[in-house]
Amino acid sequence: MLVALILLPLLPAALSLVLPWYQLRSWLLPATGAAHLGLVLLMAGGAPPTPHSWIGLDALSRLVLLVTSLLFLGCAFYAVDYLAMRRDRGNRVMVPCLLVFLSAMTLAISARHLGLLWVAVETTTLVSAPLIYFNRNRLSIEATWKYLLLCSVGIALAMLGLMFVGYSALGGGAAASLHFDWLLERAPSLSRPWLHAGFVFLLVGFGTKVGLAPLHSWKPDAYGEAPALVGALLSGGLTSVSFLAILRAMQLMSAAGDQLMARQALVGLGLLSLLLAAVFMVRQPDIKRMLAYSSVEHMGILALGVGIGGLATFGALLHLINNALTKGCLFLTAGNIQRAFASKHLSEVRGALSVLPLSGGLFLAGFLAITGAPPFGPFLSEFTILRGLFAADRPFIAAAFLLLLAVIFIGMGATVLAATQGEAGEPPGRFKDRLLLVAPPLVMLLLVLGLGLYLPEPLRQLLEAGAHLLEVRS
């Protein structure tokens, strides 16, 4: 079943290489996405992974899988109209890459073997490079180059981290393995120095992919230059997947019983990311780069939540969903705005609300959502993290958290309001809102709104289970 899920996208990917019809090729994306999401929902209530299997789904991976699949479906529908507009660029590269990307992400999510996880994450880097390079101009090549360089270095460090972890299990001569369950069992007897070093390398390696400050440097460039839907997929899907990888390392550490160091590292990086996002979002004149820094910020919030633990972990997992969906909405609508004004810079973008009532409105609403304004989902998750902070008796971290959130709100608000409100000159392009370009972000925002007002019981249980996985100490 799971294997089918992983292999599912590869077939249409292969098909898309031979299909001669442009439109049909684009339609492969939503078709696959729908099938994928259907399968995921079918497997929602599946059994816990059998030990020592290479792939399997536990609570955490179910969560991330659900988010990724949802996001992909949305972006896939968006892609149909988007690619129809960009016939000049063609979709012979885009479609197969997107599909393989989906498959790789699914593999990374469901991997129960660290080596496999690593390979899958590496594959995602590989296939996302052409996606970022979609526009084929000087800036996009530069962005792609930086993305590849930093992520490859990061992934190499992660490799070394893996090897350290493996070596830490070597003691006693028994054949070691990187099977996750096996490692969890043996965790208490792992050699500490190797494990710690391994964790640090894994954290830095996968952290580069997650985009925690100060490992984030590729993010604004890549998100800024990539097409909107790719930005959405990266900031909502890929980051979540790589964050899952970090969570695995975290699990290992807590299973080994010394999660303190891991937590401190996460809290530190999280606060640093928030601080950096604050510095970079004040008077940020480029809406897509601003979104990229916002993504850095929210990765920081996730790290902070997991690092604090307890109720905050629950909040962080909830925030993972909210962040992914809201970011999707923001990136897609930002793409529409960019298309309409033929620019993503404030010097040209003005009064989007009057030019694109729907996209502009959604962008504004998404901004309010992502900055944690009730009644949207992120409010709930951020508030839960805050409660966790106070419950863990970390008032000063809480104060810093709120202060930085305020600064970020001011910075982001100035840019977003300037872009959406006011008089637009004569609309530069003839671009108007189209169904498939507006419906996906709309649905995402509605989902976020729903999550802010009502948390379904199954989802709550899933989150509880996930939080429990991270809390468990042997």
């Binding site: 360089l149 950096l276 304004a373 839960t384 008032p395 104060a399 305020a406 608000g413 409100q421």
Partner: protein, 658 residues
């Protein structure tokens, strides 16, 4: 409870049908107005139920979000804030039909009505919420709708800027409230509001909670120095929206403080002292800044700051009373605060509506372009005069009653023996000064706007407001007069609220004794009103057919309308006296030589905190950030890799290697 929920929904959805109506309007706006009226009526019924039986309405439903519960409590304390909401919302909706018709504003009319309904519903929900999450939800609903009301005319950069400042202020406050409620949960054990006096918390936690509340709620209420957003916002919004914002919305900050302080079992004296000091500061600075303004709506906005100051001052008195166990002070302070909340809601919205009528007629907000409007707008002028007398706290209107209560409290504090709330007696002279300044300010506004001769073409051709705009104002003035002339009728409401707040049924006893003279006051007020009416009527009759002449120009041959005392010149003396606190900018005006050249004079008073404090600070910060950005994200991939390496090394170091 059914009525209440029905009212909530009706108000909230009042603007929704309009969204599907034609841009040209049609019946949608009338329908919206009708829905608001129905919602207000239902709400009033529910509140009436509460006050009749003296037991709060309660609704408890599960809510599937972490820590959430749909818990509603409508008690007397909430009722005090709800009643003005209903009146102002209803009259504002009616007023809007004529003031902001869909035909004249196809672009933003529907949005305005939508958010007008939403903010009313938000305030209603907020006032009845008994769960932190629900409270925050309603709070933000209100705040965001307020933002959209302020930016109704988003094509004007002024409105956009005001909206942005407001949004920043309110969101910062909301973040403070996040922390507040998270801490409250730690103390109370759940996100449900604890009962009055149920929270036996002392020390740093209590202090932190109070200070966070003071910041978060104070930002919404507009206490100096947190009033930064208020003048711009009230000036930018359409007048009936300003009425709702100033008359009702900012009071939710006061409600928050009142509710919050009701939780605590014992209250340290410094809480009351702080609130008292802030109240006095806001009162004096607010009215001083108002005096220096010559934009009608900005001026009214600064008066909101002043009145919020008065309310905070009396709340401070009540808190002092509680920490020293002086029942009378508690009762009088809180009753004064609550009554002033109601009063300010009434006369401030009356003033905003009539100011809207003036702006509607003349098309400008500049006081010095008005003059002599009482002849062209007899109704509006008379109504504005009523509002002005009321807000200056003069008998026979409602403003006097609440200030009277406060004075009683202050004098009582002066008479308590031993180490008592002596600080509270500072309220009396402060109130006197504030009252004097407010009187000066409103003599200026009324005189310059409605009396004398028109100073501009627009003022020459002004026209009376249509009936749809006059009717709500009349209703509001009648409400003001009612409280002023029959204050006894409100005693039961106040007693219930006081008993609820200080968690002591006998606390209301502290109120009934001092409130006894209200009968005398109302009697004297009637006499005063009748005597004045009679006198004026007689004088007019006696003066009928009197000779008409030019005003005596003291020998000057050709006096012109531009020679009249303008708003700036009227306030000039006082503004100079308050120079130390206002830092007004004065340009020109000096005449030199025997035959001076024609000269210019302009005086302008920017906001002390916003324009002189925060703006420069933020600009400096932004500059610093830009420098940092250029430094960190410098585009060199080698440098980025250096960051990676450094992170690795630092983490390894902290990990205990090397």
């Amino acid at each position: 409870m059914g009525w209440f929920v029905a009212g909530l929904l009706l108000l909230g959805f009042s603007g929704v049908p309009g969204l599907f109506a034609a841009r040209a309007g049609g019946g949608a706006e009338k329908l919206a107005c009708l829905l608001v009226w129905a919602g207000a009526a239902c709400g009033t019924l529910a509140v009436w139920e509460v006050l009749k039986h003296g037991v709060p309405l309660v609704l408890d439903l599960p809510w599937a979000i972490p820590g959430g519960a749909l818990a509603l409590r409508v008690d007397a304390l909430a009722a005090v804030f709800l009643l003005p909401l209903f009146l102002v919302a209803a009259s504002g909706a009616l007023y809007g039909l004529a003031y902001w018709p869909q035909r004249a504003h196809p672009g933003n009319g529907r949005r305005l009505r939508l958010f007008f309904g939403l903010i009313s519903a938000g305030v209603m929900l907020l006032l009845s919420a008994a769960n932190s999450l629900l409270f925050l939800l309603a709070w933000e609903f209100m705040a965001l709708s307020g933002f959209f009301l302020i930016t109704t005319e988003e094509h004007q950069s002024e409105a956009r800027e005001a909206g942005f400042i407001y949004l920043v202020a309110t969101h910062t406050g909301t973040l403070a409230l996040f922390a507040l409620f998270a801490l409250l949960e730690q103390a109370a054990g759940s996100l449900l509001f604890p009962g009055a006096g149920a929270l036996t918390l002392k020390g740093a936690e209590a202090a932190a909670i109070f200070l966070l509340g003071l910041f978060g709620f104070g930002l919404k209420a507009g206490l100096v120095p947190l009033h930064i957003w208020l003048p711009g916002a009230h000036a930018a919004a359409p007048s009936h929206a300003s009425a709702l914002l100033s008359g009702v919305m900012i009071k939710t900050g006061i409600y928050g403080l009142t509710r919050l302080t009701s939780f605590f079992a014992e209250i340290p004296p410094w809480w009351g002292a702080t609130l008292l000091a802030l109240g006095i500061l806001s009162g004096i600075l607010g009215v001083a800044l108002a005096l220096a303004q010559h934009d009608l709506k900005r001026l009214l906005a600064y008066h909101s700051v002043e009145n919020i100051g008065i309310i905070a001052l009396s709340l401070g008195m009540a808190l002092l009373g509680r920490s020293y166990g002086v029942e009378a002070l508690v009762a009088l302070g809180l009753a004064g605060a609550l009554l002033h909340v109601v009063n300010h809601g009434l006369f401030k919205s009356l003033l905003f509506l009539s100011a809207g009528a003036v702006i509607h007629a003349t098309g400008t907000r500049e006081l010095d372009h008005y003059g002599g409007l009482l002849k062209s707008q007899p109704w509006t002028g008379a109504l504005f005069l009523g509002g002005a007398v009321a807000i200056s706290g003069l008998p026979p209107f409602n403003g006097f009653i609440s200030e009277w209560l406060l004075y009683l409290g202050a004098f009582g504090a002066a008479q308590t023996e031993g180490p008592g709330p002596t600080a509270a007696l500072l309220a009396a002279p402060a109130l006197a000064l504030i009252g004097g300044l407010a009187l000066a300010c409103f003599v200026k506004v009324f005189g310059v706007t409605f009396l004398g001769a028109p100073r501009s073409e627009a003022a020459h051709h002004a026209h009376e407001a249509p009936f749809l705009m006059r009717a709500p104002m009349i209703a509001l003035l009648l409400a003001c007069a009612w409280i002023g002339l029959l204050p006894q009728t409100l005693v039961p409401l106040l007693e219930q609220a006081v008993a609820l707040w200080s968690a002591a049924p006998e606390a209301s006893a502290g109120l009934s004794a001092p409130l006894a003279p209200l009968g005398w006051i109302s009697a004297l007020a009637w006499v005063l009103l009748l005597a004045l009416a009679l006198g004026v009527w007689w004088l007019r009759r006696r003066a009928r057919g009197a000779a008409r002449a030019e005003t005596w120009g003291c020998g000057y041959a050709l006096p012109s309308a531009r020679m009249q005392y303008s708003a700036s010149s009227f306030a000039d003396f006082l503004v100079r006296l308050l120079r130390f606190g206002l830092w007004s900018e004065r340009h020109g005006g000096a005449a030199r030589g025997l035959f001076p050249e024609p000269g210019q004079f302009a005086s302008h008073t920017p906001d002390l905190v916003l324009d002189r404090g925060l703006r420069p600070a933020f600009c400096g910060l932004a500059w610093l950030f830009r420098r940092l950005r250029a430094l960190i994200q410098n585009g060199l991939s080698a440098c980025y890799l250096l960051y990676v390496a450094l992170t690795l090394i630092v983490l390894l170091l902290l990990g205990g290697f090397f």
